[in-house]
Each structure stands twice: as structure tokens, then as C-alpha cells.
Symmetry: none
Subunit: 220 residues, 2 copies
DNA sequence: ATTTATTTTTAGCTATATCTAAAATAATTT
DNA sequence: AAATTATTTTAGATATAGCTAAAAATAAAT
């Protein structure tokens, strides 16, 4: 069975919103994520139900099927492999890759992805620190905490960002934060939850609770 | 103005069938090339006419506009650059690339193509020996030689015949040579100038100097 | 338990891109 | 010149994927 580009995009959105197929997802939330209208989502859910990639009971929400999760992970795998390609081989900045990967992820060729994976040396994480599922859909996730939840003097390494909008990524670039940076929490302001962070043992920066909430850290 | 994937594919087909926009093209021939029906072509021609990438007078044929030629060359450029990428970087065989390039050529990102071109070291020809238009649509046409003038081990693609009599064409058909065939000169006989030719990397055939003198090859 | 508000679905419309069958036009043959 | 054949276009379907507006179902508030 084959999925259309639109169906692949919906499945990917549902996969993310449902936390890997665990939770049910609201029609309105899918519409917001996809930037289209709830009526369009309802119609698509009916179609995805017919293709048995979700189990859909109208008005009562949906569950991803095993088949649906596999499809979603396959698309996510392709998206992230292309992101690695764009950054590592074509010198894209990490905030320039998303739009293009959003298109490339729909190219349909098993051989292509196999060869791309090999060419990139079987990377395990994309430029935003997100794990790349293997060809069977298995993901090696590393435990992460949100930076705003860390305590004073705790240390770790930035491994991912929740918001990968160009604006946010450019901001991080500007202040000198990046995936892989070693950080230490120097201070937390009680009043607004903002933090003072030491980056790579040399640069100090201040960030709001909001910003820190979008940064994921692997503690050490 | 933006073109859909279908429109890009039609323009590309028209460009090739019209010999670079020089000749008019028949609806039936476009349908054959695109593997769809003449009725579908008529409808698309109307749409392409409205977008002014062709000048279309119904029942009387079409002419590509300058704008149309630019669009076609842009798509051809992308197709051929991706083919080079697949062969040079991902180790695809030259006969495995077409289907994938047919998809990749529709990815829409000026930066991507710019970077890809640079990454591949600004190649001038694709793996099939076809020239890659530059970003302005300029093509460096490869000079043609008569097959009887080629040296041992040289390779190329049959692009034309000087003698287009039925007899000659029937002969070419019979021995398995055709416009577009990739050939390699395996041997040349000093005595009479006859040649041993490898066609499409599989079939060997012998031909006289006379016959070879009527075949034009684009070297690669 | 009603009423009100929110969420979700359906109905009906638009646009793209294909198809088949029929009609219109052009080209060829008699 | 008329008839026949071939080519091309139009008319009317179907499928995908979006929309708005209205209806239906569920959830929340009084
Ligand atoms: Mn996408
Ligand atoms: Mn990513
Ligand atoms: Mn194509
Ligand atoms: Mn080619």
C-alpha cells in the first residue's frame, strides 16, 4: 500500500502530537499543526482510517496502528537523513534545512535511502539532535531534561531543541548555543525562572524560562 | 509564477519533443511521451497557454515561449544534476537513476540546487552524456562526430543519422542500433575501416566504414 | 437538567489532474 | 469535391485535497 504526500504529512504530524502513537490526538490540534482547517482534518482521518494506518472512531479520537507508526517512522527517518545530508554535505545551516527536508522526505525510493544512509555513515541523530529511526523503525532515544528544569550547578550537553523554527535556531546561533555544547547552570532567578548558563566553560549567557524550555539537555 | 509537478513534466516533454522549442509538437506525441491520453494533453495545453509558457492555438499546435524554455531548462538542469549526484556520490548505476531523478527534479529550492552544483564540482554533463544547462539555462552542446572517426575505447551516444532512408533505418533496427543508444568502439580494422561496437554495454556488432559514416555520435 | 459553548463532522464547492466517449476539426484518399 | 480517416478537443466522470457554512455530537456552565 502506498501513501500520498498529504497522507504522509498527516501521519507524521499525528505521530508527533500523539507522542509516538501513545496518546489520542484532537482534530483541532492536527489542524493547527498542519495549518489547515478542522473540516479538512476530519475528512483525512476518515481516509487514513480506511487505509488502516489509524483506528478512527468519529467524535472519539484516534489511535495509530502499528502499520501507521511504521509509515510515520519511515517518513521521519527520511526527513532526518536528508537534514544530515544538507548540513554535512551541502553546508546548510541547521536553521535552513527544514523546508527542503519537508519536500525530500516524500521521495520514494528504498535504494536511495539505503545509499544515503550509508553515504552519511549511518548517523544516529539529525542536526537538531533528534534520533534517526533505523530501517525497521527502531529509535535509540537518549534520556533528556528540559534546560529550565535543571538545578543550579548541574551540567550536561545540549542534545536537541523542541522548537526548530528558523527564528529560534538563529537566536541560539547568535548567543553561541548549539547541539553538542557543554553547559552548566550557574544561576536560576526565582522571580521569572530565567537562567544564567555557562557554555563550553567560557561563555556566559542569560536566557528566559521560555527559551530554556525549548532546549533539551542530556545530563552528565 | 510557480508551476505544478505535472506542468513541469509536460514542459520538459514538450521541450525535448520540440528539439529545444524549435519545432511544433503533436498532441498525440506528447500523450505517448507522457504515457497518458490525448484528451488529458489538450486540457493541459490550454492551461500551459494560460500561464504563457507556451503559445497555443488549438488544432494548430504550439510554440514554447522564452519563459517556457527557461522553466524547461531549469527542470532539466535539476534532473541531470541529481543524476550526477546519484551516480557519483551514491554509487547508482547509470540505468538506475532516471526514476529517482524524475522525482528529485521537482524539489523546489534555489539554494539546494546551487549547493548541489557546487558540491558536484559544476559538472557539465550527466551520466548519460547529456549536457547540464547552467543556472541561466545556457547549454554547452557537445560536438558530434561521425562514428567512423572515433578511436578505439571512445564512448558516446548515437544522436542522429545522416542517411534516413528506410533501408538504412531498417538495417539499424535489425542490428540493434538506434537514436539514443550508448556505444563504445571496441575495435577498428585497419584494412577496411570497419568497426566493432558495443551497444548499451551488452550487445556487440560489426559495421562497415560506410555505415559508421552515416551515424552521428555525441561523445562522452 | 437545561442551556450554552466547544469540538467535530457533514454537505457542498473549488482546483488539479487524470480518464472515456462523443463531437469537432484537419488531413488524406478517392 | 466529397467521403473517409486521423487528430484534436470538449463534455462529463472520478479521485485527491483543500475550503466555508451548517449540522451534529460532546463538554462545560448555570
Ligand atoms: Mn513533508
Ligand atoms: Mn530535524
Ligand atoms: Mn518528473
Ligand atoms: Mn540523463
Amino acid at each position: 500500500m502506498d501513501l500520498t504526500t498529504a497522507e504522509e504529512n498527516y501521519l507524521k504530524a499525528i505521530y508527533h502530537l500523539s507522542d509516538g502513537g501513545k496518546k489520542s490526538v484532537a482534530t483541532n490540534d492536527i489542524a493547527a499543526e498542519m495549518k489547515n482547517k478542522p473540516a479538512s482534518v476530519s475528512d483525512m482521518l476518515r481516509k487514513l482510517g480506511e487505509k488502516e494506518v489509524i483506528e478512527y472512531r468519529k467524535y472519539y479520537g484516534l489511535q495509530m496502528t502499528e502499520s501507521g507508526k511504521r509509515f510515520a517512522l519511515q517518513t521521519i527517518r527520511k526527513h532526518r537523513l536528508w537534514e544530515v545530508f544538507l548540513v554535512e554535505k551541502l553546508n546548510f545551516a541547521w536553521d535552513e534545512v527544514h523546508e527542503v527536508a519537508e519536500q525530500l522526505e516524500h521521495i520514494n525510493s528504498a535504494l536511495l535511502i539505503q545509499r544515503l544512509d550509508s553515504y552519511l555513515n549511518y548517523p544516529k541523530f539529525d542536526p537538531h539532535g533528534d534520533p534517526i529511526p533505523d530501517e525497521f523503525g527502531d529509535v535509540r532515544a537518549r534520556p533528556r531534561v528540559h534546560l529550565n528544569e535543571m538545578e543550579i550547578n548541574q551540567t550536561g550537553q545540549i542534545v536537541a531543541v523542541k522548537d526548530s523554527s528558523a527564528a529560534f535556531l538563529r537566536y541560539l546561533d547568535k548567543v553561541g548555543a548549539y547541539i553538542g555544547a557543554r553547559i552548566k547552570v550557574l544561576d536560576k532567578v526565582e522571580f521569572d525562572g530565567s537562567l544564567e548558563i555557562l557554555v563550553d566553560q567560557k561563555k556566559t549567557l542569560f536566557m528566559s524560562k521560555d527559551v530554556a524550555g525549548n532546549i533539551l539537555v542530556q545530563q552528565s
